[in-house]
Symmetry: C2
Subunit: 649 residues, 2 copies
């Protein structure tokens, strides 16, 4: 009965659960899978700082040095913090798990809401900015950004539905390629500057018109907003701590090592790009008119300008830079494709999300979660018209909510360990160190969260401030529903099935033909306490005709004919059944419905839909069971083999 | 359990079948119901003749006299022919019935296809041209013709769903009003012309640019096309013969009388309007530039011009004329709302159409047919952008196909009567007369059909020439399907229900809770020969946990646990069931599915949809019956009263 279908071609043959172990990741594959997000964000973090400062004119651009320094410091602290998490939670220490264990249900759900929102934004922002790298190199594609972005999301979805291992291989090339080309660019720049070249970006000579004067509080706020924008460089750092179980043994140590390597790469790349942007005097602005250019002029990204200036006549290297940048950005979305479904599965396990999200699909990945994430990201991309500057405003709040909760949870975790008398003395010194690291992390990320909220709220972040509580309440509602159901269906220990006192069977009859006789024979085999046939007649003629045929074919079974003045079937039958069902509280009534089964979809509307409507109504009638006795017409039997003949006639 | 709902407010309370007699029509109500179509078509028939002749320039307009004369003659012949049908078929002598009885199945289905297409076109054309009468008086509504037309169709649908009697009353006023105002207009014109006034239409002074020179064959074809266009005046004549059973006794005589009255009214009104149009020198054209007006100039209908010229300063009467014209035209669609559902019901009775069209709805009208007609008409109106001149090209073919078949059938009918020795001698003379009338009618309408086909085919009528065969084949297909089903489910006389040899019961178990225990208790009450529980486990842990609980709660029932390596439920369960079902050809296997029932739609996606998918698959498995044992959660019980407690625990 297995059919060859499009799904198999696109996502591959099903995998056995026993093969789950085979999909564990070595460090060299784990790095590209979990780190394409934090690494790739250096491609736009510097630009976001400059874009914000440009509002204050050329004079304020030097503030980028301070913002970048603060971000590098923050990045080091956060990486150090999360390394502690990898050690403390070898089973996977995402913000949700850590908050749940240490801070309670509400903190955990807050973290979960933040993470879910951010995974969706990671996909949207990364893919859109990858497409921007492409259009920086190929301006002709400028008008197709939405279509390209959606196409990339679909591509990622299909790759992820194929399973984690193959993903790692496919994603290693662009991630490592991106790192290498960036370092190559640094080397070329160093050599050229060292040999006395003066390199300037194409936009260095453009003026920047300030959109106002920024002094006092306004200046501080602008600087803080520039810093907040640059904090996009930190997104995705938590992915590794969440994915510890996907590492090979020793899981915790491998994960912590990978995290440190990622941190080193991210810090050096971010610093290098920022230095070059400042040295080359890259001028960028959200609106071309601010740079004295006509409205609608296509503009290159800051990184593209740096690349073009550095590589000069080596056009091949510039295009390679854009290609790997686009590649790593589109694949950065993959971090979310790993994280979101895993978190959704944990939430489903804890019954905060529909249980369809719990099970792995037949390629051992969480198929439903993957599809859900892709749909949400596509909706965002289309709604925001694939405009990076608008999407990025929504992006960082969730990240820092989960950072803060996660680090605060770790602080509580270590304090609890210290309080436990079981903790050996020689461990305590290490725990004090870990506690200190996480405390610093929690304090700093909380501070940044406040800064982000203040500076981004009116620029679109309010949307996230609505989405998160909605998700929060939704998850609580789902849990409440499941709890209610569990309570309602629970049975005490030792409870046994109990037979109903009496069993009444009702066979619905439209006319006397083979399906009816089959259903009647079946009904007799149930050995019911009472057996009645019920039919509906619109007029006297009908009624008489039916009674005559009945006497011919089923004289032993009593037939009740209901008069239906409105020529309707469902209503009178339901009324009759409800009357019977209400008569006795310990009996059970089975309603037998003989049904034609036709084999073609177009044959379906040629038959009355009364059976379907009746079945739906009967589901809601207490004390009633519904029995379908299908009668396969020849068209329905095609391709089913010989099957079993039913004993009719 | 009866709920107050929107349907009741819109279409009224259900009526009892016994009240069907009450809805029989007196002649004074039958006339507006069945004749708004033929009467109202005089509002545009003259204009259609002039529009066509205008292509040849002013010089050819005098040909309208000949075309109109031919049409009047044709109208008299057709009315005379159909009066014979009323007498011969008191049970309703539509083209379908007459063709079926006298010319065989294929002719009958051809007639039916033609009639179905034409009913739809009647609604579309009448409503659109009614809206044109409104926009002639209120040019501001010119841009809303599609919306207005659709709104009128919806209004008609609701009125018809309320039932035939109320329809008659509502429709009498505009129909009689239209007739009276037209005669009033004739009287005013006669008095003014008699007293020496010279009346000219507003367009009399406009030049008409011919779109080519018409001589020889081209001239003949143009004249024929003008005649064919004017034949729209004949549409709807057959409605009365179709609706004889709706008349009061003596049905046939009352129907024939009404038909004669309608003929007299239609002929005099058509003649009068044509005479006035010629005398007033009304100039019309499909395209304003042909009249030397700028493109897009809103133009009045010919009837509106005649009214404006005749009533002069009596503006009130002009607006009254437009109002009743619009009223009668929109209501003309009502002829189709009576005819289409009745024909569809007859076709369904003969099993050429889905049986849902057979039954009357709860207001004693054929609700499904009414809705179907409305949907088709709305589709046409939207597709043709509510442009009368384009819709009218499709209109007349179907009419004349059914006229011809119907009259030819009547000829055969009378010849058969003559051939029968049972026919009394004194009747024979009358039958000879009737035969002659119908023979003339058949010949003439066949001739007109050829003319219409030749002159209209390339102007859009080809669409009808495709639609009719499609309907024809569709109806044959439906009949073939029903015949096949009937053959497959037929039972020989005296066949009795036979119990299956053995009854095996399988209870599907997801985990041990109240719905499962309830289903097990129920299954025991079926006294099966074998009773097994079946569950699916993804891994060893699952399996062990389930077996332990099972031993606790249902030690007496054997549990079969299926291993599902792909974590899938439906596949393994189906495989297991098919294996069991295939084992023995005379046994029957019941699959018991315990089901939660939740009360809110949003709760549904929180539960796995496995039950539904299983049930669908099982319907197609021979030898299997499906038993739903619903377990109502509290949310599903709300509003259902106390109901019956099921014996669980």
């Amino acid at each position: 009965m297995r059919r060859i279908n499009a799904k198999r071609v696109l996502v591959g043959e099903p995998l056995d659960t026993a093969r789950l172990g085979e999909t564990l990741l070595p460090k060299r594959l784990a790095l590209p899978i979990f780190c394409s997000d934090p690494l790739s964000s250096v491609a736009y973090a510097t630009e976001e700082i400059l874009l914000t400062l440009a509002l204050g004119g050329v004079a304020l651009l030097h503030l980028a040095w301070y913002a970048a320094a603060a971000i590098v410091f923050l990045l080091v602290v956060v990486v150090a913090s999360y390394r502690q998490t990898c050690h403390a939670y070898p089973g996977g220490g995402g913000a949700y798990v850590v908050s749940a264990e240490n801070l309670g249900q509400s903190a955990a759900l807050t973290a979960a809401s933040a993470l879910l929102v951010d995974y969706v934004l990671t996909v949207a922002v990364s893919v859109v900015s990858g497409v921007a790298a492409i259009t920086s190199a190929v301006p002709a594609l400028n008008d197709h950004q939405v279509a390209l972005s959606v196409a990339f999301v679909v591509l990622l979805t299909l790759m992820n539905l194929r399973g984690v291992r193959e993903s790692g291989r496919v994603f290693a090339v662009p991630t490592y390629g991106f790192v290498l080309v960036i370092y190559l660019m640094f080397a070329v720049a160093a050599v050229r500057i060292g040999t006395g070249d003066t390199i300037r970006a194409e936009s260095a000579t453009l003026p920047i018109t300030a959109d106002g004067t920024y002094t006092g509080i306004a200046l501080v706020l602008l600087a803080m907003r520039a810093f907040a924008s640059g904090c996009t460089a930190l997104t995705g750092v938590e992915a590794i701590s969440n994915g510890v179980p996907a590492f090979r043994e020793p899981k915790s140590r491998n994960a912590a090592t990978t995290l440190a390597a990622m941190g080193a790469l991210a810090v050096t790349m971010f610093m290098g790009i920022t230095v070059l942007a400042m040295v080359y005097e890259v001028h960028v602005a959200a609106d071309p008119t601010q740079l004295g250019l006509p409205r609608g002029t296509p503009m290159s990204t800051a990184l593209a300008q740096i690349g073009r200036a550095t590589f000069g006549d080596l056009h091949v290297l510039f295009y390679l830079l854009q290609a790997v940048t686009a590649g790593v950005l589109v694949l950065a979305a993959n971090t979310a494709f790993n994280g979101f479904p895993m978190l959704a599965s944990i939430l489903a396990r804890d019954r905060y999300a529909p249980r369809q999200l719990y099970n792995r699909g037949d390629r051992l990945v969480y198929s439903n979660g993957i599809v859900l994430l892709a749909l949400a990201a596509i909706a965002l991309i289309v709604a925001f018209d694939a405009q990076l500057t608008r999407l990025i405003q929504l992006y960082i709040i969730g990240v820092f909510v989960s950072f803060t909760l996660s680090q605060a949870g770790m602080v509580r975790h270590w304090r609890r360990e210290l309080a436990s008398p079981a903790t050996p003395r020689e461990e305590r010194i290490h725990i004090h160190r870990r506690l200190a690291i996480n405390a610093v992390g929690a304090t700093l990320t909380a501070l940044v969260l406040v800064i982000v909220l203040i500076t981004k709220f009116t620029h679109g972040a309010w949307l996230v401030c609505i989405a998160m509580p909605v998700l929060f309440l939704g998850m609580k509602g789902v849990r409440r529903h499941y709890d209610t159901v569990t309570r309602q269906v629970a049975v005490p220990a030792g409870a046994h099935p109990r037979k109903p006192a009496r069993h009444h069977v009702l066979v619905l009859v439209s006319s006397v033909h083979a399906p009816t006789l089959k259903a009647l024979g079946y009904a007799q085999a149930l050995h019911p306490d009472t057996l009645t046939a019920v039919s509906v007649a619109a007029d006297e003629d009908d009624m008489r005709r039916l009674s005559e045929t009945w006497a011919d074919h089923a004289p032993g079974i009593s037939l009740k004919v209901l008069h239906s003045p409105y020529r309707e079937v469902v209503g009178p039958v339901m009324a009759h059944i409800q009357e019977l069902a209400a008569a006795d509280g310990t009996d059970v009534l089975s309603v037998v419905i003989p049904e034609y089964v036709v084999g073609h979809w177009w044959e379906q509307p040629l038959h009355n839909q009364n059976a379907l409507r009746l079945k739906t109504r009967l589901l809601f009638t207490p004390g009633v069971a519904v029995i379908d006795v299908p009668y396969l017409l020849e068209s329905a039997k095609a391709g089913e083999g010989d099957g079993v003949g039913m004993p009719v006639r």
